[in-house]
């Protein structure tokens, strides 16, 4: 029941926010987001760091198609749920005034769509029935579409359409594989979409490969990976930074989440078969994303493209099939969520002050706004993996696992650290230091609301940078189970 409550709370919140009078909408929205946060924490407390799915509930939904309303979380799901419930209130508070500005669709719409998106995302991370997963996976796109199209800079309608087309295309390709699973389960006896039923079927290797391709394309678009990433930069450029946080830090995680749960979990043979291609794509994403980011003039495009590089690391960690790599990848998913959220939100505050997102037109911000500059620096350093901040731990784990996999893979991946330092610090240097190029614009420093929004993210970065054990305790059983399913022992290495 706990997980159902967790999904229904924000959904109810979205409806309430949409119908209460305008003045109350924002309060109601934040109220429900905080209530969901509390519910998420309660669920986490009920979770006991062990094996398998917990807090499960299963009801038949569509009997003639073998579909169930089935929920449950393992360590991976739990972390994603926590990431979601923490980030949503932060995004709402950060966008408190922005969504009311002329040209946007109003705070009421922003808060309601955000809560709807939260509900659907939580359902995605807790679904244990493939079709239920697919349904909510696609349903996240509608709120996301209206969040991108309704708020942000001009040209956002186009960006929203591009986003939706890419995602729907991926989703429909996945639908073919989902239906394939149905046919496989029907051939094996009784049609069922339950992950536990499907995992028990021994799918023949050729079928597995076809199904894998369908799932992987969808998750690669979602994550995103080279060469299906082109929606990402356009979207982050035009959308508000709050929307970008929801998309990049929460929704995109569905891609790597799905790779772990469906590609590795249900189609282990095919996952091993595809490893060479996936590893190469991941490496290309890592290097290409970083290189293209260096060349950007728009702050928001730049941050969007750094995520391409980061998601390359996560996918690499998943597909090297070792316990270090797997744990590193999942930890990376959490850390990337926190660090990138910080980066986007600070950049958003910055752009609202300067009135431009062009790096070339900024400069000297740190003189008048030292606190803003400080947050920006920490976010940048986190992105380039400075020891003491949490992304360092996960990045190291993935790189070590990559070297174990093959020295060449490791050497290519390690290059990204240099490139990351380049894009992050160069951006800081050009925007924050030197002489101001903004003319008469006096950049105000952050106010108390803004600092309050950013502080929890900063604290989390430092805390998990020094003490990642609580997260790893939850992650390790998942990695163990997943790798055992693929047929690889805890010590790593191939058979």
């Amino acid at each position: 029941m706990m997980l159902t409550v967790l999904i229904l709370l924000p959904l109810l919140g979205a409806v309430v926010t949409a119908v209460v009078p305008g003045a109350l909408a924002r309060l109601a929205g934040v109220g429900f987001a905080v209530a969901t946060l509390v519910a998420g924490v309660v669920a986490a407390l009920q979770y006991d760091a062990g094996d398998g799915m917990q807090l499960t509930e299963t009801h038949t939904w569509i009997e003639s198609l073998g579909v169930h309303y089935a929920l449950g979380v393992d360590g991976l799901g739990l972390l994603m749920v926590l990431l979601t419930v923490v980030l949503v209130p932060i995004v709402l508070l950060a966008g408190w005034n922005e969504s009311e500005e002329p040209g946007n669709s109003g705070a009421k719409a922003f808060f309601a769509w955000t809560l709807a998106l939260e509900a659907m995302s939580l359902a995605v991370f807790t679904a244990t029935d493939v079709l239920l997963f697919y349904v909510v996976f696609e349903a996240t796109l509608i709120p996301a579409y209206f969040l991108i199209g309704g708020f942000g800079r001009s040209g956002r309608g186009r960006a929203a359409t591009k986003f939706l087309i890419y995602q729907l295309a991926g989703g429909l390709v996945m639908l073919a594989s989902v239906i394939g699973l149905y046919v496989v389960s029907a051939d094996a006896g009784t049609p069922s979409f339950l992950i536990s039923d499907l995992a028990a079927i021994d799918i023949d290797p050729i079928t597995q490969r076809w199904l894998f391709v369908g799932f992987f394309i969808a998750f690669a678009i979602k994550a995103p990976m080279f060469p299906v990433h082109t929606w990402l930069a356009d979207t982050t450029e035009k959308a508000t930074t709050g929307t970008s946080v929801l998309l990049v830090c929460i929704l995109d995680k569905i891609g790597t989440f799905g790779m772990l749960r469906f590609c590795l979990g249900l189609l282990p043979d095919a996952s091993q078969w595809a490893t060479p291609v996936v590893v190469v794509l991941a490496l290309v994403s890592i290097i290409y994303g970083a290189l293209v980011a260096i060349g950007q003039d728009d702050v928001l495009r730049l941050i969007g493209l750094t995520s391409l590089s980061h998601f390359g690391f996560i996918v690499l960690g998943i597909f090297v099939f070792s316990s270090t790599g797997g744990a590193g990848a999942i930890l990376y998913m959490v850390n990337h969520g926190i660090a990138t959220a910080l980066m986007f939100l600070v950049a958003g505050f910055l752009i609202r002050r300067t009135g431009t997102a062009s790096i070339r037109e900024m400069g000297g911000v740190e003189r008048t706004a030292p606190v803003l500059a400080g947050f920006f620096l920490v976010a940048g350093l986190a992105a380039c993996g400075l020891p003491g901040l949490s992304p360092f731990v996960s990045e190291m784990m993935v790189i070590i696992a990559a070297f174990d996999h093959h020295w060449l893979v490791g050497s290519v991946a390690v290059l990204a650290i240099v490139l990351a330092a380049f894009y992050a610090l160069w951006m800081y240097q050009r925007t924050m230091t030197g002489a101001g190029r903004l003319g008469a614009v006096e950049v105000r420093d952050l106010d108390r609301r803004e600092v309050g929004v950013l502080a929890p993210l900063l604290l989390a970065l430092v805390l998990f940078g020094f003490y990642p054990m609580p997260l790893l305790d939850v992650i390790n059983p998942v990695v163990h189970d997943t790798l055992a399913g693929v047929g690889i022992g805890q010590e790593g290495g191939h058979q």
Binding site: I142, L164, T190
Partner: protein, 530 residues
């Protein structure tokens, strides 16, 4: 010469069919004898009573219908074996009647155009003449449309239930002729409407000729018009197989024309655009349901043993319909033409379900059957379509309905509710989860894949991506584009249209969230009897 035996007519099972036919005839009498000012009320009430009565009849018959033969299917062969009242027939009857009731409500709408209906004041008056001006000034309206529509409904019920080729042809004609007429009766843009009617009639008559020729050839092959006898002949491999193949091909032309499958889709955009919007709504939904019922009965019952001959043909037609429909829809600038091409694409999706036919022993316990999937898809498609066209009728400017898509810019701000409902129907047609369209797509793709038609499923997925783009483009125009000039305005409908839209939206939502009961109903409809 055998002695003529008078067929026994199973009045109980045929009650819904006879009720609609009787009320249609009664409507003609009303038209002749009731004074002009009372006709509107009389006709609308009569049509509604007749349709609701027939719908009740369908439910009663369905509860009571006997088990047929070996017990796998239920139903009776009525009127000397020419009409099969079985599970699928009853399901389609119910669906057609429900859509027809919604259609009558749309026909009767008089709030949108200043107190008169969407039909021409005097169809015989040449556009632009004094006679036309006089008929407009006198606020005349044709009330013959209600009996005409009821005849069409009768045809739509007879067509899928016909158990021999001749009855099927009669059903085809009874369903088509009133629709040709209705298409030409638009109050505004009459030349366009008349052109549509003429095109529809000429091409329709041509396709009927194909059907009849195919029927003759199949008779030559099997020595009988009866589906069961044809099936026996195919099984026993008697007669000339070239007659069988050519006959099957020609019959397919006639049937595929009615559902608007590529390459017989050319009439669809012109007719959908030219016909009065309430007629388009009713025709688009009803004809497709009825014609797919007939297609499935012909192919499954009469030609089921010969499926290796016709399945490849349907594979190709399904793939072509999906791609051509979706691709051409993108290029349209008129919303009714866009929906017309999208209906061509949907024809392809439904055919995907039709090619998913498997023998009963190949299905796992609890696995969804092809018939079940197609019936469910038809339900979702019918309600979404009639709802979408009903909304199209609301968006107007001084010249009547505004069907140019770029004039819909800003509708999201002008009328949030109408825009939201229309967006919802579009999402359903695109097959987004939590709408009925998704479950429908899931069902037809599943049966096709289970039957090994994976190339069709792959093509269907790719075509769905193209189709998604076109629906999203319309949503983008409504919500995110700046209005041109004054922007669109929305006419407030009476309770009639509002009910239709609300029911359409509710069905679309419920079938998306809780599709179980209707899927089960389509499942217990069982198999065709033969």
């Amino acid at each position: 010469m055998t002695e003529f035996v008078k067929p026994s007519i199973d009045y109980f099972e045929l009650w819904p069919l006879l009720a609609v036919f009787g009320v249609a005839c009664l409507g003609v009498v009303v038209e002749a004898f009731v004074p002009r000012r009372a006709r509107y009320t009389a006709q609308v009430a009569l049509a509604l009573v007749g349709l609701v009565g027939a719908l009740v009849g369908v439910v009663v018959v369905a509860r009571d219908v006997t088990t047929y033969d070996d017990g796998a299917a239920r139903g009776v062969l009525a009127v000397g074996g020419t009409i099969a009242v079985d599970g699928p027939s009853l399901f389609i009857w119910g669906l057609v009647l429900a859509l027809a009731i919604a259609g009558v409500l749309l026909f009767a709408e008089r709030h949108l155009d200043g107190g008169v209906s969407a039909f021409a004041g005097q169809a015989a008056a040449v556009p632009g003449t004094d006679a036309e001006t006089a008929s407009i000034a006198a606020r005349r309206e044709h009330t013959e449309v209600y009996p005409l529509m009821l005849f069409a409904v009768f045809g739509m019920m007879l067509f899928p239930a016909a158990n021999d080729l001749l009855t099927m042809f009669v059903g085809l004609e009874v369903l088509s002729l009133p629709l040709y007429l209705l298409s030409g009766l638009a109050r505004r843009r009459r030349l366009l409407s008349q052109e549509a009617a003429l095109k529809y009639f000429l091409l329709g008559a041509f396709s009927s000729g194909f059907f009849l020729y195919g029927a003759a050839l199949l008779y030559g092959f099997a020595g009988s018009m009866d589906f069961a006898a044809i099936n026996e002949a195919v099984r026993n491999d008697v007669g000339s197989s070239s007659l069988l193949l050519i006959g099957t091909g020609l019959l397919s032309v006639g049937l595929l024309f009615k559902v608007g499958a590529v390459p017989f889709q050319a009439w669809t955009p012109d007719v959908y655009q030219g016909a009065p919007t309430p007629v388009t709504a009713f025709m688009a939904a009803g004809t497709k349901v009825a014609a797919f019922g007939a297609i499935m009965r012909l192919f499954y019952v009469a030609l089921g043993a010969d499926r290796w001959s016709w399945q490849p043909m349907l594979w190709i037609i399904a793939i072509l319909s999906m791609f051509v429909g979706a691709a051409l829809a993108i290029t349209q600038s008129d919303i009714k033409r866009l929906l017309a091409y999208s209906s061509v694409a949907h024809t392809g999706f439904i055919l995907t379900g039709v090619v998913g036919l498997q023998a009963a022993d190949q299905l796992a316990v609890g696995e969804i059957s092809s018939l079940q999937a197609v019936l469910f898809y038809l339900t979702t498609y019918g309600f979404a379509t009639i709802g979408a066209f009903a909304v199209v009728g609301l968006v107007r400017d001084a010249g009547g309905e505004t069907t140019a898509i770029d004039r819909w810019a800003g509708l999201g701000k002008e009328s949030p509710v109408v825009a939201a409902v229309f967006a919802f129907f579009l999402l359903a047609m695109a097959g987004i989860p939590l709408t009925s369209g998704f479950v429908g797509k899931l069902a037809v793709f599943s049966v096709a894949l289970a039957a090994g038609a994976w190339p069709v499923v792959v093509a269907a997925v790719l075509a769905s991506i193209i189709a998604a783009f076109l629906y999203i483009r319309v949503i983008k125009v409504m919500y995110f584009d700046e209005p041109v000039g004054t922007g669109p305005s929305v006419a407030y409908p009476s309770v009639l249209t509002a009910t239709t839209i609300a029911v359409g939206a509710a069905v679309t939502l419920v079938l998306g969230v809780l599709p179980g009961p209707v899927l089960d109903l389509a499942g217990v409809a069982g198999e065709f009897i033969r």
